[in-house]
Symmetry: C2
Subunit: 570 residues, 2 copies
Amino acid sequence: MALGQTNPIVGDLEGNAARIVDVARRAHDAGADLLAVGEMALSGYPIEDLAARPSFLRESAEAVDALAARLHEEGLGELVVVVGHPDGPFEPRLTSSNASPSAIAQNRASVIHRGRVLAKYSKHHLPNYSVFDEYRIFIPGDELMVLRLRGADVALIICEDLWRDGGPVARVLESDASVLLVINASPYERDKDEVRVPLVTRRALESDTTVAYVNIVGGQDDLVFDGDSVVVDGKGEILARAPQYDEHLLLVDLDPPATADHPVPDYVRRVVIDLGEAPEREPLPADIAELPDDRAQLWGALVTGLRDYVEKNGFRSVALGLSGGIDSAVCAAIAADAIGADRVYGVSMPSRWSSDHSRSDADDLAERIGVHYRTEAIADLVQPVEDQLQLTGLAAENLQARIRGIILMGLSNLDGHLVLTTGNKTEVAVGYSTIYGDSVGGYAPIKDVPKTLVWELARWRNEHAAARGETPPIPENSISKPPSAELREGQTDQDSLPDYAVLDEIVEAYVTRKLGREDLIAAGFDAEVVHDVVKLIDRSEWKRRQSAIGPKVSGMAFGRDRRLPITYKD
Amino acid sequence: MALGQTNPIVGDLEGNAARIVDVARRAHDAGADLLAVGEMALSGYPIEDLAARPSFLRESAEAVDALAARLHEEGLGELVVVVGHPDGPFEPRLTSSNASPSAIAQNRASVIHRGRVLAKYSKHHLPNYSVFDEYRIFIPGDELMVLRLRGADVALIICEDLWRDGGPVARVLESDASVLLVINASPYERDKDEVRVPLVTRRALESDTTVAYVNIVGGQDDLVFDGDSVVVDGKGEILARAPQYDEHLLLVDLDPPATADHPVPDYVRRVVIDLGEAPEREPLPADIAELPDDRAQLWGALVTGLRDYVEKNGFRSVALGLSGGIDSAVCAAIAADAIGADRVYGVSMPSRWSSDHSRSDADDLAERIGVHYRTEAIADLVQPVEDQLQLTGLAAENLQARIRGIILMGLSNLDGHLVLTTGNKTEVAVGYSTIYGDSVGGYAPIKDVPKTLVWELARWRNEHAAARGETPPIPENSISKPPSAELREGQTDQDSLPDYAVLDEIVEAYVTRKLGREDLIAAGFDAEVVHDVVKLIDRSEWKRRQSAIGPKVSGMAFGRDRRLPITYKD
């Protein structure tokens, strides 16, 4: 068996199909009988509002047939290929009392053999929490399926189906399948490796069945899929495991015991596939990748997210302001790791309040990493606006940040850079930034990373470089100096904010774990600090409210945030 | 019976309760026995991620009890009050195979009498399409309920429950209720009055039952609730109807026939309420509001949306650029209608390319409406940036728009204005704007209004003024002149865009109705124009991709767009 961990681009049906043909050829050449690629590997994930476009669904369905034909033409027809894709358009169908009345698509796995699509399985459980919106856009399936291959039954399900206790897993395994094949689009989450593989292992042990789990990889908009495809046998042993983030063909020789030739329950459809005689061949060489430590995994996710946002949206380069501080230094290092330093353009934009070290630390960083680097002093650009509008206080501080935003966008318009905005999660949470100022940019590499973790990642990245005999990218002084926005004389972050160690804990508890103010105080946080921080967070929400929404009134509103991926040409 | 059409603020439990006590007093004084207010009238709608905060759910539940106690204390305890609110936290519960595993809230209607909460109904059907995300955040209910009041049964359901054929309506009406009471949070959509009241009428006719439908009113973020509460009898006659957009107490004397004293089906809970003897009193004076025409309804929605965004978020005033063009003129007129001209600050920001008429038309507009008005020429602010960065072409054009954005944000920071961004739907769709330039602003009053409809609304508003002997607010020249961004010599919109009449039709078909390119050509649009427009739309999506997202990677991401309403203090 082969699991193809591909990196699809949402909407790029043709390119994604080419990726699948490529892994199919490699799987075939290695002697595999069955190849599975991830959930929606043909369309990319998540397709969001594309699921509401009949033309896209028709093209997706046609792309499956075209893939089947092409595999056959290229001599790969004997390989059984299981591929995930959207299908439709179907009549809206209220399969349960609460299904979305406007959904016209299904989330499917097609089974391809000898140039034909033999069967299609539709995902039962449509996640509708966290980053998922599937219940909104898909019609749930209600059929179960096993594939019969040389006397062994392989049960087929999709992603969330595996997670539900008492769901399709339990029912399909009553058919005594030898292998449970799960195709997935499962994003990276911190510490998810402590949940996902244990779940796969538990399902394998519960059912005494080998579970083959294939995931996609790569960044898509704000999601990062980490791969980590895995095969676990019925004793809970990991037989094969793919690395994170990289495209990979994972091979494993299962040689499952033939399933007894019993009838399957009547609610399970058995698809018999004629594979012919098993060929004589070398055993497939299974490999078991080791997961790196927590910080390396996180760094990998940040690098992958940025790389694929740049590549999939067709940007040649990125630009960012280098302030000498830790956030921009870490963002620059991520960018260089993602797309190479020669595609990264750093801009130092000192003001009258900028310290000497802010310039020297930025210079040092640029030299260490080797990015393109220029200096654009802002004093002469700020002054005319400040004078004409008579801006003072906060309005004058924000003006400096906004002139910097204008400089970066001007350079972006001239040279096509994607601008990076370097705010960290803590800053975003408490609104310690200027709207249309330092928040300007198309991609925010560390927007979900709390400040204390930014420092930790910087230290880790430097140690990692040192251990490999490379120049540590982040200047030591950027890590050790007290953080400052430098928008007025002698300013430091701690003039306005509690210590970051405390602040990060409160943000984590209040924003992420959704504890209330009273819960926080009961948990031992100082009451005054809690009130101050919650007030900052509420205030930041008020600031965000100055950043453009409008009334949905015409019965003609756009869809949601992600309307059309640029790679899909309707 | 009384229906209280209130305007709640999301998160403002105390203020919303005060609004309900106020209508309860008026209903009581008028002699009503039963008052119903809208879905989530106690919490505001939509609560989005607040539904995931246990502390908010606890406070909401406590607020219902506090409301019951307060009504009793104020001598209103004999009035039966039905009020919508969120409830919880509950253990996540997979009531159907596809419920969201993280939902801990229910969408409920509580029945209050004599200081106590007698019963709670939980909404069955949770809409999860268009602007709705309920399936994500609520646990669906599965019980049905009728209230027995002086021998008549009143069946109680919530909003979407009414829309589903074969849903709770059909089942609860098998109990032979005399009245079907539906509480709602149903937003304005263009032409919705052609759907909603006909639906209510159809349900009334189908079941030969009086249907009482109560909606909330007001703007909340990007939604506008239009009220239009209505009572329709079993013959399909409208007995009473509330006006759009305004808070209103709708009274109606139903005097329903006593329901036969039969047992209800065992799946329906009957709540018997002791109302005592019917008092002698004058019949309640039902009124039937007339709906104004389509354009007046739309104008009302735009005005309401802006007004409540300003008021509910605590802004004192709004600022906007006045270019002399039609979009900014219409936005200024909406703003003046919404909050009064003395809270509107117009800024003319001419550049070297601005025509004489752009200044004189802006002057004329400001004088007609009576808004505050100042001129800030941008040439001396643009030049230093253009020179220092050597910006040319598009980069130089965008710079002008961005300097204007900086001016408006500077004035906002000085004086606390909410900045309005004046782009229309057509512009947004095809990306005919500058990111961080004219798109700067906290509220976009006409972002869903296509260009041709902007002109139509301008003409309508002027005629409306003339008919009332008032000064038409929009200068005739702003309506009749060819539109231009004036970012370079002699530029007009039609240099880059097809005629707006054609463009709007294609945008409507492609973006809103989701037709594909081939469908459009088959429908008779010129193939070349279709390709050009679709290319512009795809390109605009690419531009939007330069406006800040970042990787959700830490397992610590924020919630969705609307995280915390500023009015809720946790």
